[in-house]
């Protein structure tokens, strides 16, 4: 590794509040450890190094597939999940919490569901040195933990709809290659909602609500998404159908970042969830469930980040503004002005750091760019003479802003940054979805992005398409502009108006 001026800075988080993060001044050891970030074109390398250098996750925990949230990463997580809570709370959902451990007899009740998860479940078999009477599964997802309670809770049509969610850790014994935030053995941040409705149609409508909430959630993260109906062979085990939300990663693969499942009355039947309808009859309820995990943060980081490090939308950035005094000699006027600006912004609730450390400005820029701080304010003697400050946006652009109007200027910058991040990513996504006319073209194009291709809708044809292309059918997009079009099924040649998406997937 080449030691450059840039990489001699240590990014150790200090033990004070997040906004007091300071550059540790030393030293040779830090230089030795802190490799510079590979270019984003080497996506996989870049991703792993970014998580390390920007202190999102520590991957050195001594069990495969389990990772540690560094405080800086955890702070992003907290803000991301605050958005999720806000959106769910404002749409009638209530937060609750159910146990992690599911007794074997409950877990084994729903046949399709077991088939889908039995290879992936961790089992607790011992308490102390004694074997347990009943084996306990670590929830891979909570249907079988929650629905025995729903049987008790749901009595009457007046109890419906029941909309409950929890944010918890779940577990999958992944045998594939694990990857932080993306493929985990402990999903630390699983937001799962479980709803109960009177009719199949009510449940279907709720699936639509769920995908709209998720799209709004991702919009807040400036992450554009595509919603599609997964093919039948790729639906959630035990569901009638599955809608999925996908994001496009920089390497052209899609990342499934949310799913919403219509469970019909399948689980209601298994767990005996019935309600008394308006005629006094006991009838089976209908259910949905929908989930998002820390993959949301993988998408957020991957899509916006660049060769200099993290790029974060202001709403989720642990530090939103860094102010760097440009000081020469003993003059205190710059520091005074910087502190005044900092106070003004903090009083409005902004998360602000003044970096008045001894490091050179270039080193400071490098550090805070790596951390994704959306706005950098520089104030020097020349700026003060003009009663202005230089405002540099992490995603590009620099302007001079009057100090008197600094708060309005920063708030506008925040809006601009978010919109610009979203527009850039949406353009990238649109540019990387291509209508293909045959499977050869699909096979080529999915090296770059998402292919659109006609499909007759028959399972056999779909499976053969996947086989030929060597990649999955994401499904029929909800957006008719993507999901409809006249074409011929590439396998059976039948005319069809269904267009599906195919992509390499995580």
């Amino acid at each position: 590794m080449v030691i450059t001026e840039k990489n001699i800075i240590s990014f150790t988080i200090k033990t004070h509040t997040m906004t007091e993060l300071s550059i540790s001044s030393d030293n040779a050891k830090a230089a030795e450890e802190s490799k510079s970030l590979p270019p984003k074109s080497d996506f996989s390398e870049w991703y792993n190094e970014l998580l390390r250098i920007a202190e999102i996750m520590d991957v050195r925990y001594p069990v495969k597939g389990l990772y540690v949230w560094n405080p800086f990463g955890f702070s992003i997580r907290s803000r991301v999940y605050s958005i999720m809570r806000e959106l769910l709370d404002n749409t009638g959902h209530l937060e609750a919490m159910f146990p992690l451990l599911i007794p074997e007899h409950e877990f084994m009740k729903e046949a399709e569901h077991i088939k889908g998860f039995e290879d992936e479940v961790y089992w607790v078999t011992h308490g102390g040195t004694d074997p347990l009477d009943v084996k306990l599964a670590l929830r891979p997802t909570s249907e079988t933990a929650i629905y025995p309670m729903y049987k008790l809770w749901v009595r009457s049509h007046a109890d419906l709809p029941l909309l409950i969610y929890q944010i918890v850790n779940t577990f999958r014994y992944e045998t594939k290659h694990t990857r932080p935030l993306i493929r985990l053995r402990e999903i630390t941040s699983f937001k799962e909602a479980h709803t109960v409705h009177a009719t199949w149609d009510d449940a279907a409508a709720q699936v639509g609500v769920a995908t709209r909430i998720y799209q709004e959630f991702y919009h807040r993260l400036a992450v554009p998404t595509v919603v599609s109906k997964r093919p039948d062979w790729d639906k959630f085990p035990g569901a009638d159908y599955t809608m999925a939300v996908d994001a496009l990663m920089p390497d052209g693969k899609t990342l499934q970042v949310g799913t919403a499942h219509h469970l019909g009355d399948n689980f209601a039947n298994t767990f005996d969830i019935r309600y008394e309808d308006t005629n006094g009859e006991q009838v089976l309820a209908h259910q949905t469930c929908y989930g998002v995990s820390e993959r949301s943060i993988a998408a957020l980081i991957s899509i916006h980040g660049d060769n200099k490090g993290l790029v974060l939308p202001p709403e989720v950035a642990p530090v939103q503004v860094v102010i760097i005094p440009i000081v020469f000699g003993e003059d205190k006027t710059v520091i005074t002005a910087v502190n005044e600006v900092s106070d003004t912004l903090k009083q409005s609730g902004l998360r602000v750091v003044v970096d008045d450390s001894d490091a050179r400005p270039g080193a400071k820029y490098y550090k805070w760019e790596m951390k994704g701080v959306p706005v950098r304010i520089e104030i020097g003697p020349r700026d003060l003479k003009n009663n202005s400050a230089v405002v540099a946006l992490r995603n590009g652009g620099k302007t001079s802003v009057p100090i008197d109007g600094i708060l309005a200027g920063i708030n506008k910058a925040f809006t601009d940054i978010h919109d610009s991040l979203f527009e850039t990513a949406a353009r990238e996504l649109n540019d990387r979805i291509r209508l293909c006319t045959d499977l050869d073209e699909v096979r080529d194009y999915i090296q770059t992005g998402i292919a659109r291709i006609a499909w007759c809708g028959e399972r056999d044809c779909g499976l053969e398409m996947e086989e030929i292309v060597g990649a999955g059918i994401l499904g029929e997009p909800e957006d008719p502009a993507l999901g409809k079009g006249d074409g011929l099924c590439p396998i059976c040649g039948k005319p069809t108006d269904i267009v599906v998406l195919m992509a390499r997937t995580y």
Copy 2:
């Protein structure tokens, strides 16, 4: 069960936002289920029924010692833990998150620690149908998950102190009688902090900081506490010493609601956590850890609640104000006034419900009293004529407040309620701590509260005191007014100035 007018109300949480909770109008079934609350003098019965009727926890989950947080209870939990986060974040702590699963070889490293936990640990032995190569413990507490990372994170004196916490689920295979919020197999809400310091004295100072934070936390919950140094035989496995925070429950038993442990360099030695000191020497670090669980909520509920249900300090009440229009006939002026008051309060961030359901006022009072709503506002035509509203406090007292000054009136009421709850509880605690002169008196008195008794400080004498009394020594209180006094050890008769607390404990 006697069906009374009061108990025909169902407390089912509706599926809308918490502040839209409404009374479900029916019915015979609700009457059949909703038993009225036993008197608080039957504490154990009262506690269980309160958790059910006020919808804090559902105990019907099909595994012993695992419980479900109802949305209403979870909402209290969220607010309680927000206070904890605020206090920790403001004292230099950073929130992070470490894995649940601890590999056997790490878990088994610290000999004293294993001895303390080996009978209580749940073991994951299988992934899917295959046995795991390495057994994985569900964390009973996270020293052995976190300290392998601290070995990597701590390098230099400049990295210290390191103050990190997480709020996670932990597991204990309890063989004793389990009880919701108090003795659990899944502790869903364990806040554990783990700190690293340069010297033993620095760590000791941090233990002091921790107990002060906890006392402040409990003060915010209006729960008075006593801090004492646990006797050596009751300290945390692997610690140099343990400070504990106890609350007095209504049945005269104490509940340990927080602990802070000085770990010395014991774990640093085991996990090889060293730092380079200012002389360039590699030296062992010193550590502390301190924790609080959902026992905090057990104390909160138990200490303040009464025969009518929950009593909650305004800061943690999911609903802070319920407004009840007293309406006769078709007159809309009352409803208009009620909505204006509601808007005024909501605009200031208060959590307000207008209960304009068809239920009779008495039924409404009963419902919202059960839920612990701190303030009830009643507005009727007569009040409107005087441009005033009746403000009734959940913990007693009713006044008339001018509608123009309603926000100030409610904010003052909130302060008064909190102070009054704390003072009442503090008086109760003080009244139930008695200096005893011999062990017979201790044995009698601990049926009611906490006994103070001289102790020479010798282990053998202490253990014999516990044996004779049939209850534990909490330890020497930090407060010299409680922990000092001239006396004779009741076993060996030696003069001593140490006074310890003894109590029946949960």
